[in-house]
Symmetry: none
Subunit: 148 residues, 2 copies
DNA sequence: AAATAAAATGTATAAACATTCGTACCGCAG
DNA sequence: CTGCGGTACGAATGTTTATACATTTTATTT
């Protein structure tokens, strides 16, 4: 039953602003589970759920996933970028109009080794790389992102 | 003095396993700051520091990478979006021409609870929400973003 | 199946944390 | 100056969460 309960909890906090364990107890009760706060506390620990401050006056539980975050960036990038080309140590990435900024931030956040800096216009990103070697490495990474 | 204190706190939690606000008080004291737990609580809120479960029996404070990125997202969003309106479980966000896509991606990336899906045209975003309740919550969040 | 070990949970309580309320300290307009 | 609006803070208190210990449930061994 623990498994099912955990699933419910995860689902619940993903789809609602949950800020107290009591709310989870209530939700579980409505789904036929009858557990105490101590159990929820342990569940939260096991599920590695975190409590985050959001906006100015909200606190909410959230699933802690650094990996999930990476995926997020990749998603942003692949949804924004169209193609990439390299000359010397510069890579030029073409994006859909208006998305270069977002794609650029996503790219930056990947912390690619050998990447020196980026600048974004409306639909184009310039990526400055350390040297030709790094350039081919990075464009390889970018192209593999573009494929999915 | 608050600025300096905040810096110390961030530095501290990045480089140590900090699991209680008391530890922060102690550290600050050693650096010449004399504040109470109430202040630390407020600092943690302002700095959007989270408490994460780590390993099997550790809890520690950490800087939420997600939130840091959130700031980026927020920036993209607020620079693109103009206004928002809701009917039933749909929110319509008006953006500057050509920016809806970027704003939409930013919005998606915030992982707002109750948000089911989004779609962007050139200057408009449709946001589908789970129900009316979620809708009002989400438009509240959007409006608070638009204010700054 | 009885005996034993291990996991899951509840109870009660302690610990950790957030918040309310009051005060002090600005910066500034009148 | 004087009063107003805002920020920062401590003390006290309320709220929320974690945990020590006891108990029940489930699995494992013999």
């Amino acid at each position: 039953m623990k498994k099912k309960r955990h699933e419910l909890i995860l689902d619940f906090i993903k789809n609602n602003n949950v800020s107290r364990q009591e709310e989870i107890i209530k939700m579980l009760f409505e789904h036929g589970f009858n557990v105490t706060q101590a159990t929820i506390s342990r569940d939260i620990k096991e599920l590695k759920i975190i409590k985050e401050h959001f906006g100015k006056n909200d606190i909410r539980y959230a699933v802690s996933e650094k990996i999930g975050n990476d995926d997020n960036y990749k998603m942003i990038f692949t949804r924004s970028a169209i193609s990439a080309d390299a000359t010397m140590n510069i890579i030029v990435v073409k994006c859909y109009s208006g998305t270069a900024n977002a794609a650029c931030i996503a790219l930056d956040s990947m912390n690619l080794p050998g990447l020196v800096g980026t600048i974004a216009g409306d639909d184009t990103i310039f990526v400055a790389c350390k040297d030709v070697n790094a350039t081919s490495h990075i464009i390889g990474t970018i192209n593999s992102l573009l494929k999915d």
